[in-house]
């Protein structure tokens, strides 16, 4: 274990440079030699995009530790199940999914699973993480107890442990989110953390530990070294899953290095120069990098598998956005094709109306007939017609640009602003094009790019007219329910000024006039439905309400989990032509199995 980056080294470099007058004798960049750091290029996998800034801590009990302890990466600490975002199926990891119902989810723990200190992974470890919220409200996994009331442990015939996750009927009653947990919450060694909790007495104190020296993990890689410029993982030769899950094979790369660059461009350059094998960063016009050997999931548009829907959230409590006709007119006024082509490099299939994606796992819940009948597609004339019918009049200047908008009572409609963080260039481009379309249709909207701090602050309290968001962006088993809930649920409705973490546009006030009860009842019933036909019917109904009411404006589809690779050093990456793993970097979900399939290039 090395803690790098000691003080004085850079100063010493400067000194040497001053004395020698800059050592110009350098090897060509890119194809560096293999000696030096002891991480031979041919045995090392360089991947990036999930760690920005100095690594702060590798403590899995904190909220945002460094890669790969953060998010839901599963190469150091593992989840019970691995979710395949391509097939929608659960694959075994620390456990195997046995059955699921409206009341419980049953998982069998793999009896071979072991921690790196030789101890077996047991139900005690699972209970430790899932029930931490009972002891500490501030725990990162505290919310789990609202969804899981109890974990019942029984022994199978082969002595493996069978865990029954009981759905918290009195709490959220949501088995769908329990499935989300099983593929997201990493199991931690209770025998390591319990003594620390007992000794330091408080979770907040344990969270201050950095856990960066030889941590006890269950996954195939462990922390080798780190600095502010990179994090290095080393393959564990005695990983339990090599025999139990991968037929005795070892993962290809001996080392995984995550370089920490300071801008997206740096990742693009490193990828093109083969200093990086794969990255999950936004690189515009990826086809220009083809000559340098950069590959994507599809070799033509949209290049990546879509996973999230950038959306304009509408504040339905403000006039004239409270008017359904006005919201519908906005949806007709936006040129979605131009957003796709100009703002997001074509990394999106054509947008369909509604909040459910018409392809992939969600595709089964999408109904084209409904979309044709109720949905809004780009058509300026229709937008103008709807506005005119609702009594709005737009006044244009001589040069054709919009001057102002007047409502049926002859009062001027206030200019509406789209709040979006300044400097998020792809979002800025999306917003600019959406605003352009709406203004052309006579709607008085302007861009309102603000400091990211103000942006985040405005969201929960509903301090905006329109705001760019990516509702429930992760691709999880609970999609598209989680996206629809994020856009429409009034379960925790609070007036503007107070905080809401979902439906921040405050659509459908339960105490207001015209409350649509079906929205909330559908949202609460969908997670408990196991019958495919009933589920499809419920989603269809909810999506129709979304299209009729237009509480938000979906703008395009964007990849959420994706990668671009340079296969000059490592080959056999999963792609559309060879989809043996989902389109995610091999460090999360079912994509991790790619590590055992990657082969050194000749």
């Amino acid at each position: 274990m090395m803690r790098m980056n000691r003080l004085g080294i850079p100063l010493a470099i400067a000194g040497i440079l001053l004395i020698t007058g800059c050592n110009k004798e350098t090897k060509p960049a890119g194809q560096e030699e293999t000696k030096a750091g002891g991480f031979p290029r041919s045995k090392t996998l360089y991947m990036g995009g999930s760690q920005w800034g100095d690594p702060n801590s590798f403590n899995p009990l904190t909220d945002w530790p460094a890669w790969p302890v953060n998010d839901k990466f599963n190469i150091m600490f593992e989840t019970l199940l691995a979710y395949n975002t391509l097939t929608g199926k659960f694959e075994p990891l620390l456990g195997t999914l046995e059955s699921q119902s409206a009341d419980s989810v049953v998982v069998t723990l793999n009896p071979a699973a072991k921690w790196s200190d030789g101890q077996p992974v047991t139900s005690a470890d699972v209970k430790f993480v899932y029930e931490l919220g009972k002891r500490f409200k501030g725990a990162a996994t505290a919310y789990a107890i609202d969804f899981v009331s109890d974990i019942k442990v029984a022994a199978n015939a082969d002595k493996s442990e069978r865990l029954t996750f009981m759905v918290n009927k009195k709490g959220r009653n949501n088995p769908l989110v329990v499935l989300d947990f099983l593929q997201a919450i990493r199991i931690l060694p209770a025998h390591v953390f319990e003594p620390k909790l007992a000794q330091l007495k408080d979770l907040a104190e344990v969270q201050k530990l950095k856990c960066d020296s030889n941590p006890v993990v269950s996954g195939p890689y462990n922390l080798e070294a780190y600095s502010n410029e990179k994090i290095i993982l080393k393959r564990r030769e005695d990983y339990w899953g090599n025999a139990a899950l991968h037929g005795g094979k070892l993962p290809g790369p001996q080392f995984i290095i995550h370089p920490i660059y300071k801008s997206n461009d740096a990742f693009a350059i490193a990828l093109a120069q083969n200093e990086l094998d794969a990255t999950q960063t936004y690189i515009p016009r990826i086809w220009m990098k083809k000559n340098a050997g950069v590959l994507t999931w599809y070799d033509k548009e949209p290049y990546f598998v879509p996973g999230a829907i950038p959306t304009l959230l509408i504040n339905s409590t403000r006039y004239p956005l409270s008017d359904k006709a006005f919201r519908r007119a906005m949806a007709f006024a936006i040129d979605y094709k131009s957003i796709k082509d100009l703002a997001v490099s074509g990394y999106s299939p054509d947008l369909k109306p509604g909040a459910i994606m018409p392809f992939g796992i969600e595709g089964g819940y999408y109904n084209e007939e409904d979309a044709q009948k109720y949905g809004a597609a780009f058509n300026v004339e229709t937008a103008k017609k709807i506005l005119a019918e609702a009594g709005y009049k737009s006044v244009f200047k001589a040069d054709g640009s919009l001057d102002k908008m007047v409502d049926a009572k002859g009062k001027q409609v206030p200019t509406l602003f789209v709040k979006s963080p300044a400097g998020w260039s792809d979002w800025e481009a999306i917003v600019t094009l959406a605003v352009k379309g709406m203004r052309a249709a006579g709607i008085d909207v302007r861009e309102g790019f603000v400091d990211a701090g103000l942006y985040w602050q405005s969201q929960p309290v509903g301090d905006f007219d329109l705001e760019m968001i990516k509702p429930a962006a992760s691709v999880t088993p609970s999609q598209p329910w989680s996206r629809l809930a994020a856009l429409m649920s009034s379960r925790t409705w609070a007036p503007p000024g107070e905080k809401m973490n979902e439906n921040q546009g405050r659509f459908n006030n339960p105490k207001g006039k015209g409350y649509i009860k079906a929205v909330d009842s559908l949202l609460s019933v969908i997670p408990t439905l196991t019958d495919k036909a009933a589920l499809t019917q419920a989603y269809r109904q909810l999506n129709v309400i979304f299209m009729q009411e237009q509480p938000a404006l979906p703008l395009c589809y964007l990849p959420e989990q994706f990668y671009q690779v340079n296969n000059k050093t490592w080959t056999n990456w999963a792609t559309d032509a060879n989809p043996y793993a989902p389109p995610n970097l091999p460090w999360a979900g079912a994509a991790t199995k790619m590590l055992w399939e990657l082969k050194p290039a000749k």
Binding site: N5, L11, P28, A36, A142, A204
Partner: protein, 356 residues
């Protein structure tokens, strides 16, 4: 008092003013980030709260507020609440006294965004890189630029006619554009030098030759991206100062006396340098926070990016730590030059002697 020691009095007098400036700056450093409308926990919640429902998000938010000392707690660590059930925010005044106390202990607290990393650790890791890049660049750039500028002013002729437009061009190029151009030409089109990083991607810093070689190779592009432009700007300033000085009586007199050219050049340099020295002080003072763009273009280690993300995230302890560092370096640089000018400039010296 100290009447017979005018130099000591001068230094003490200046020092007193600098100390006062320091106190005011420290206070402003504390209050400025807190005057904005946004709040650090809201920004963190944007990241940590996604996917949580409303109640879970509220609980999480309160645990952050407590951890960062932004709410009042009782002796058992329970958050004190107002009549409406909302946590009571701790006052800025109490936070300020806590901050001053911690400053005197050399502790800037724990970063919000890089929790549980200490601000002092973050600064200590980044500052050496920033200094290693900026200090030689600024000093060399200043020295080379001024010497060339003085030469151009004195020699004129072909040297000046070639040099002056070149320096003008260099000083007018924005250094980020120049940096990108360097990367494109030297690293992307031709693989002469590495495009980015402080050292090779497969390396761990350590005291060995390979590491220093690699760090040296990675140093060249960032160095020249700042050096050339800085030198160009300095040269232009020095050249016009030099031309002005050349017309003065003492130079003419020295020439009539037949004093050697190098000696005259030295006189010229010494006098024309005075305003340039003040410029140097400003560059040196600002160097701690000044390398942001270079860091971003070359993904070079350093403090600039840390300051940027601290400001964007309203990371109070980190902003306070960094601005304090910037304040101190600006003040020290200015103080040093103030004293230096006191010795170098006979007019100031005379002022001290007869001054009241």
């Amino acid at each position: 008092m100290l009447k017979q020691y005018p130099t000591a009095r001068y230094i003490l007098h200046r020092g007193g003013w600098y100390f006062l400036t320091f106190l005011v700056a420290v206070t402003i450093n504390f209050f400025l980030p807190r005057l904005g409308a946004s709040n650090p926990v809201d920004i963190i919640m944007g990241k940590a709260g996604s996917g949580l429902d409303t109640e879970a998000a509220r609980e999480k938010e309160e645990s952050y507020l407590k951890e960062f000392g932004l709410v009042q707690v009782d002796a058992t660590g329970t958050i004190l609440r107002g009549p409406d059930g909302k946590p009571l925010k701790s006052s800025n005044v109490s936070q300020f006294f806590n901050y001053v106390k911690m400053c005197f202990q050399g502790d800037f607290g724990t970063s919000f965004q890089k929790y549980p990393k200490k601000v002092t650790t973050i600064i200590a890791e980044a500052v050496p890189w920033t200094l290693a890049l900026q200090l030689p660049t600024i000093l060399f750039g200043w020295l080379v630029g001024n010497i060339l500028g003085a030469l151009a002013a004195y020699r004129r002729g072909v040297f000046d006619r070639v040099f002056f437009p070149l320096a003008l061009l260099l000083s007018a190029v924005p250094f980020f554009a120049f940096g990108m151009l360097l990367v494109y030409v030297c690293a992307i089109r031709n693989s002469w030098l590495p495009a980015m990083g402080g050292y090779a991607g497969d390396m761990v810093p350590g005291f060995n030759l390979d590491f220093f070689k690699s760090a040296g190779a990675h140093y060249i592009l960032p160095f020249f991206s700042i050096f050339l432009i800085l030198a160009g700007g300095q040269a232009i300033g020095m050249r016009s100062m030099g031309i002005y000085e050349l017309g003065t009586d003492y130079i003419k007199y020295a020439k009539w006396l037949g004093i050697k050219e190098n000696k005259i050049l030295l006189y010229l340099f010494r006098n024309a340098m005075l305003p340039q020295l003040t410029g140097l002080a400003l560059s040196l003072g600002g160097m701690i926070g000044g390398a942001l763009i270079t860091e971003m273009i070359f993904s070079y280690p350093g403090l600039g990016m840390a300051i940027l993300s601290a400001i964007q995230g309203q990371d109070y302890p980190m902003i306070q730590g960094c601005t304090l560092l910037v304040t101190i370096s600006v003040l020290i640089a200015n103080f040093t030059v103030d004293i230096l000018i006191g010795f170098l400039d006979p007019r100031v010296k005379a002022g001290q002697m007869g001054g009241n």
